[in-house]
C-alpha cells in the first residue's frame, strides 16, 4: 500500500483514515448509549414492578392467575430488554474494533507520510493520535480478561473528544522531523511517554468510575434515598463493585508509573544531556513531568498505607492525571516559546 505512493498521497490516506476512525468512534458511542439507555429502562421496569408484586401478594386468591400471566409477560419484556442491552453493547464493541483498525491505519500511514519514514510522534498532533490509539488498544486487549465492557462508553467518548480536539486545534501537515528530533531517543523517550500516558489515561478513567460507583453505593445505601435514585442503581448494576475498580485502577497505575519513571526521568535526561548538554534543565515540561511523577508517587504511597485506600487515593490519581494533561497541552500552549520542548507543539 505504501510502496510506490508519494508521501503526499500517503498523508492524504492517513488524514482520511483518521476521519473515518473518528466517525466510527461516534457510531460506537451511539451503540454504547443505546446500551446504557436500555439498561436504564431495565432498572426502571424492575422498580415499577415491585409495588405491583406486593399488591399481588395481598390480593384475593382469584387474582393470582392473572398476576402470574402478567409476571410472565413482564419477564418476557425484561428478557427482550436484556437482549437489547447486550446487542447494543456488542455492536458498540464491534464498532470500536473497526474504529481502532482505522485509527491504527491512520497512525501507521502517518509514519510513512514523510520521507524518510519516521515514528508517528514528531509533533503534538501525532503524539495525541498515537497516544489515543494506545488507549483503544489497551482497552480492547484487556476487554475480555478484565471484563471491561462497562468502560466502552467512556473509552469511545474519550476517543471522540480527543480526536476531535486533535483535529481542530493541533492538526499539522505531515513532514520531516525538525533536526532537534533526529535521534533514536525520540523512539525511546516519546514511545515510553505515550505508553505511560495511555496507561495513566485508562487508570484515570477507572478512578473516575470508581468515584461514581462509590458515590452511587453510598446513595443507594442511605435509607432516605431508597428506591428514588435510578441512575445510582444503573451505575451499581453496570459497573464492577468499587473494590474491584479500586484494585484495577491501582494495577494500571502500578504499570504506568515505572513506564513514566523511565520516560521522564531516565530516557528524557539521557537525551537532554545528549542534545542540550545538561540532563536536567528545569524546562517547564521537565518540571511538570516531575510534578506528575511526584503526585503519582504519592498516590502509590498513599495506596499502600491502609488509611488512604479508596476515595482519597482516587482523587490523588486524578490530580496526577490533571497535571499530566496540563503538561501535555498547557505547557505547549501557555509556555510555548519558553519551553525547550516547544518544537513538539504548533
Amino acid at each position: 500500500m505504501i510502496e510506490g505512493m508519494a508521501p503526499a498521497d500517503v498523508a492524504a490516506f492517513s488524514d482520511r483514515a483518521f476521519m473515518f476512525a473518528s466517525i466510527v468512534y461516534v457510531l460506537a458511542v451511539l451503540g454504547h448509549l443505546v446500551e446504557w439507555a436500555s439498561s436504564l429502562g431495565t432498572v426502571a421496569a424492575t422498580r415499577d414492578r415491585s409495588p405491583v408484586g406486593v399488591a399481588a401478594g395481598s390480593s384475593p386468591a382469584g387474582a393470582a392467575t392473572t398476576d402470574a400471566a402478567v409476571d410472565d409477560d413482564r419477564a418476557d419484556v425484561e428478557e427482550r430488554r436484556r437482549l437489547r442491552v447486550e446487542t447494543a453493547g456488542r455492536i458498540g464493541v464491534a464498532l470500536t474494533v473497526l474504529a481502532t483498525v482505522l485509527h491504527a491505519a491512520a497512525v501507521v500511514s502517518r509514519a510513512f507520510a514523510s520521507d524518510p519514514a519516521r515514528v508517528p510522534w514528531g509533533n503534538m498532533y501525532e503524539f495525541t493520535m498515537t497516544g489515543a490509539l494506545g488507549v483503544s488498544v489497551i482497552y480492547l486487549a484487556l476487554l475480555s480478561p478484565l471484563r471491561l465492557r462497562w468502560m466502552g462508553l467512556f473509552v469511545t467518548g474519550f476517543q471522540v473528544v480527543v480526536l476531535m480536539l486533535a483535529n481542530l486545534t493541533l492538526e499539522q501537515a505531515a513532514g520531516p522531523l525538525v533536526p532537534a528530533l533526529h535521534s533514536y531517543w525520540l523512539v525511546i523517550h516519546v514511545g515510553a511517554a505515550i505508553l505511560a500516558t495511555g496507561a495513566f489515561a485508562v487508570g484515570a478513567l477507572t478512578s473516575v468510575v470508581f468515584l461514581l460507583q462509590e458515590r452511587a453505593q453510598r446513595r443507594t445505601q442511605a435509607p432516605a434515598a431508597a428506591g428514588s435514585n435510578r441512575v445510582s442503581r444503573v451505575l451499581l448494576e453496570r459497573f464492577p463493585p468499587p473494590d474491584v475498580l479500586d484494585r484495577l485502577s491501582y494495577r494500571l497505575h502500578a504499570v504506568a508509573f515505572p513506564l513514566w519513571t523511565f520516560a521522564a526521568l531516565i530516557a528524557g535526561p539521557i537525551w537532554a544531556e545528549y542534545a542540550w548538554g545538561s540532563y536536567w534543565n528545569w524546562d517547564p515540561k521537565e518540571v511538570w513531568a516531575f510534578i506528575t511523577w511526584v503526585i503519582y508517587a504519592a498516590y502509590l504511597h498513599a495506596r499502600a498505607t491502609a488509611g488512604w485506600r479508596g476515595r482519597a487515593a482516587a482523587v490523588l490519581a486524578l490530580i496526577g492525571f490533571a497535571t499530566l494533561l496540563f503538561n501535555f497541552v498547557g505547557i505547549n500552549f501557555f509556555f510555548g516559546a519558553g519551553s525547550m520542548h516547544s518544537y513538539a507543539g504548533s
Binding site: 532537534a180 542540550w276 528545569w282
Partner: protein
C-alpha cells in the same frame, strides 16, 4: 513509618496491608505531643518528621513548590526573559525577587522542602533496613492452629502417607522459590513457606536510589559549569573565561579548572524545506569543527550537530543555535574606516529575521550607532512592512536606523552589545525630519546625511552558538535512577506470600490442608495459586472444602 512497628511479627497471620513505608508506631497518637521533656520532644518531632503522613505531605508540597519555577522565568535558564519580566512588572519584581521566585530551585524554601524530605527518607530507610535484615534471618512462622481462617484455604483427603505428601509439598514449594521450613509431630506435620523477600529489598533500593540521584544531581550542580559562546564561522574558540558570552559555574567550580580545549569552526551548513506546507522548517544543520583537547594535542575533526555533540573528558560542546552576521564597513565624517567586520545579529523568529546593533565608538567627529533588522529572504508588504519569508539567505537585506552622539561607553557601566544606550544619542534625520533608515542589499553603500559618513553592506557570514558545559556526577545520577526503577518494579510487582501445608493422619491416609496469605496488599490470584499448589501436592486427592 518508623521501622519498629513494621517488623513482621513472627506469629502474625493477619493480612498485613502495608509493606510500604507505612504504619504509625503503636501507642503514639499522631498529631499530639505526648511528653514535654526535651528528649521526648525530640523523639516526638523525629517521629512526626519520619511519619508517612509527613512524607506524603512533603512530596505533595514539593510538587506544589515546583510550579512557580515553570511559570515565572528562571534566572539560570532564561536570564533575558527575567530582565524583560522585571521591566514589565516593576511593582511585583522586588517582591518576587525577595521570595526567590526567579531562582525557585535554589531558593531556601524549595531547598527546605527537599532537605526535609531527604531527612524523612533517611529516617525511614535506616530502621526499615535493620528490620528487613532481621526478618531475612527469621524463618517463616509456624502454621497457625486454624488454617481455615486464612484468605485462601483448601482441604484434601488422600490415601497417601503423610511423609510422602509433605515431601512433595516441600519440593513443590522450593520449585516455586519459596523458603521452606518444616515442623510437627511424627504422625503428620506441617510446612511453612514464604517467598517474595525481594519486594521489601526493592522498596529499600528504590528509596536509597532516590537519595543517590539527589546526591549525584547536587554534585553536578556544585562542581559543574555551563557556558555559551557565539563563534563566527571560520573563527575559533579557546576554553577560557574571557571567550564566553555567558558563564554559569556551580558554587564550588573554579574557572581555573577549565580544560584548555580549543576549536575552530571550519564550516556550517543549514538546510531548510523549500516546498510543501512546512516550508522553512529546518531539515538539518551542522558545523565541521577542528579541535585540540590540549594546546599540544593533535588537531582532530568533528561534525557538530544537534544530537551530535563533541564529548571530551571534562567538557562537552553542543551546537545549540545559529544565525547571521552581516559584514559592515562604516566610514566616519572624516572619510576614515571606523569599523569593518561582521556584526552578530540575533534571530527573532523561525524565518531568521534578526535583530542587531552596531556601535562605532571610533567614528569622528561624532560616535555612530545603528540598530535594525537583517532579513535573510527579504520581502515587503504594506500591511506587514519588511519581513523575511525564508530562513536561508536567498535575498538578504538590511534595514537599520542610525544614531549619532555619545554611545555612553566611557562611563564604565557594562553595556550589552545587543542594546544601544540612546540617552545621549540622536536619531539621524533626513532633510524632511523623518527618521533616516538605511535599507541595504549586499554590496551597496549608503551615505549618511549631514556628512556623518557612510555604511557599506559587504556581505554576510554565519555564526554558531556553542554551549560548553561539564556536568560531573552524571553517571551517579543515571545509575541511581536506573536502580530506582529496578527497585520500584520489585516493590510493585513482587508478591510477598506465605503458604502453609499441614498434613494429619486420618482414615488410613492423610488429610492435607493448604492455606495462603498475601502480605503485599493484594490477594489477586492467591486462591488460584493455592489451588494449583494443592493439585501438585495431592494429585489424586478428593477436595473437601474450597474457598
Amino acid at each position: 513509618m518508623t521501622g519498629a512497628s513494621a517488623a513482621p511479627s513472627a506469629t502474625s497471620t493477619r493480612p498485613e496491608e502495608s509493606t510500604d513505608f507505612g504504619s504509625e508506631p503503636p501507642g503514639t497518637p499522631p498529631g499530639r505531643a505526648p511528653g514535654l521533656s526535651p528528649f521526648e520532644f525530640l523523639r516526638w518531632a523525629w517521629r512526626q518528621l519520619t511519619s508517612m503522613r509527613t512524607a506524603l505531605l512533603l512530596l505533595l508540597l514539593l510538587a506544589l513548590a515546583a510550579i512557580p519555577g515553570s511559570v515565572v522565568p528562571q534566572a539560570d535558564v532564561a536570564a533575558v526573559q527575567v530582565s524583560r519580566w522585571k521591566e514589565a512588572h516593576p511593582d511585583l519584581a522586588p517582591i518576587y525577587e525577595r521570595l526567590g521566585l526567579f531562582s525557585v530551585y535554589d531558593s531556601p524554601w524549595f531547598s527546605a522542602i527537599y532537605l526535609l524530605l531527604m531527612v524523612s527518607l533517611v529516617g525511614c530507610i535506616l530502621p526499615r533496613t535493620a528490620v528487613y535484615a532481621r526478618s531475612l534471618r527469621v524463618a517463616p512462622p509456624k502454621a497457625p492452629r486454624n488454617l481455615g481462617r486464612l484468605p485462601a484455604y483448601l482441604g484434601v483427603q488422600t490415601d497417601e502417607a503423610p511423609d510422602v505428601v509433605l515431601d512433595r509439598a516441600r519440593a513443590a514449594l522450593r520449585r516455586r522459590r519459596y523458603r521452606v521450613v518444616s515442623s510437627g509431630p511424627a504422625d503428620g506435620g506441617s510446612v511453612a513457606a514464604e517467598r517474595g523477600y525481594l519486594r521489601e529489598a526493592g522498596n529499600l533500593l528504590f528509596h536509597v536510589s532516590v537519595i543517590v540521584v539527589l546526591v549525584g544531581f547536587a554534585y553536578g550542580q556544585l562542581l559543574g559549569y555551563k557556558g555559551g559562546s557565539i563563534v563566527l564561522v571560520g573563527k575559533g574558540f579557546a576554553n577560557s573565561l574571557t571567550q564566553y558570552d555567558d558563564f554559569a559555574p556551580g558554587s564550588f567550580y573554579d574557572p581555573a579548572d577549565l580544560q584548555p580545549m580549543s576549536l575552530t569552526v571550519d564550516s556550517f551548513e543549514a538546510e531548510f524545506l523549500r516546498t510543501g506546507p512546512q516550508r522553512g522548517q529546518p531539515v538539518d544543520f551542522g558545523a565541521d569543527v577542528t579541535y585540540r583537547e590540549t594546546p599540544s594535542a593533535e588537531p582532530r575533526r568533528h561534525r557538530l550537530a544537534v544530537n551530535h555533540p563533541l564529548v571530551l573528558d571534562e567538557v562537552s560542546v553542543f551546537l545549540v543555535g545559529h544565525g547571521y552576521a552581516p559584514v559592515l564597513t562604516v566610514r566616519d565624517g572624516n572619510g576614515d574606516v571606523a569599523y569593518s567586520g561582521p556584526v552578530v545579529f540575533l534571530p527573532q523568529d523561525a524565518s531568521f529575521a534578526s535583530f542587531g546593533v552596531l556601535k562605532v565608538p571610533d567614528a569622528q567627529p561624532e560616535q555612530l550607532g545603528f540598530d535594525g533588522m537583517f532579513f535573510p529572504t527579504y520581502n515587503f508588504t504594506m500591511a506587514r512592512g519588511p519581513f523575511s519569508v525564508f530562513p536561508d539567505a536567498l535575498n538578504p537585506a538590511l534595514s537599520m536606523l542610525a544614531y549619532s552622539g555619545d554611545l555612553g561607553m566611557d562611563e564604565g557601566a557594562p553595556q550589552s552589545v545587543f542594546e544601544l544606550d540612546t540617552d545621549q544619542l540622536e536619531k539621524v534625520k533626513r532633510a524632511d525630519q523623518r527618521d533616516f533608515r538605511l535599507d541595504l542589499a549586499p554590496g551597496r553603500t549608503v551615505r549618511l546625511p549631514d556628512g556623518l559618513g557612510s555604511v557599506r553592506f559587504d556581505g554576510w557570514q554565519r555564526w554558531v552558538k556553542l554551549q560548553i558545559s561539564d556536568t560531573p556526577g552524571k553517571a551517579i545520577a543515571l545509575t541511581g535512577m536506573v536502580l530506582a526503577l529496578v527497585g520500584l518494579m520489585g516493590s510493585l510487582f513482587i508478591r510477598r506470600r506465605r503458604v502453609w501445608v499441614r498434613v494429619t493422619s486420618r482414615e488410613g491416609g492423610s488429610y492435607v490442608e493448604v492455606a495462603g496469605l498475601d502480605r503485599s496488599g493484594s490477594s489477586d490470584g492467591l486462591v488460584e495459586e493455592i489451588s494449583r499448589l494443592a493439585d501438585v501436592v495431592v494429585p489424586a486427592g478428593e477436595e473437601e472444602r474450597l474457598r
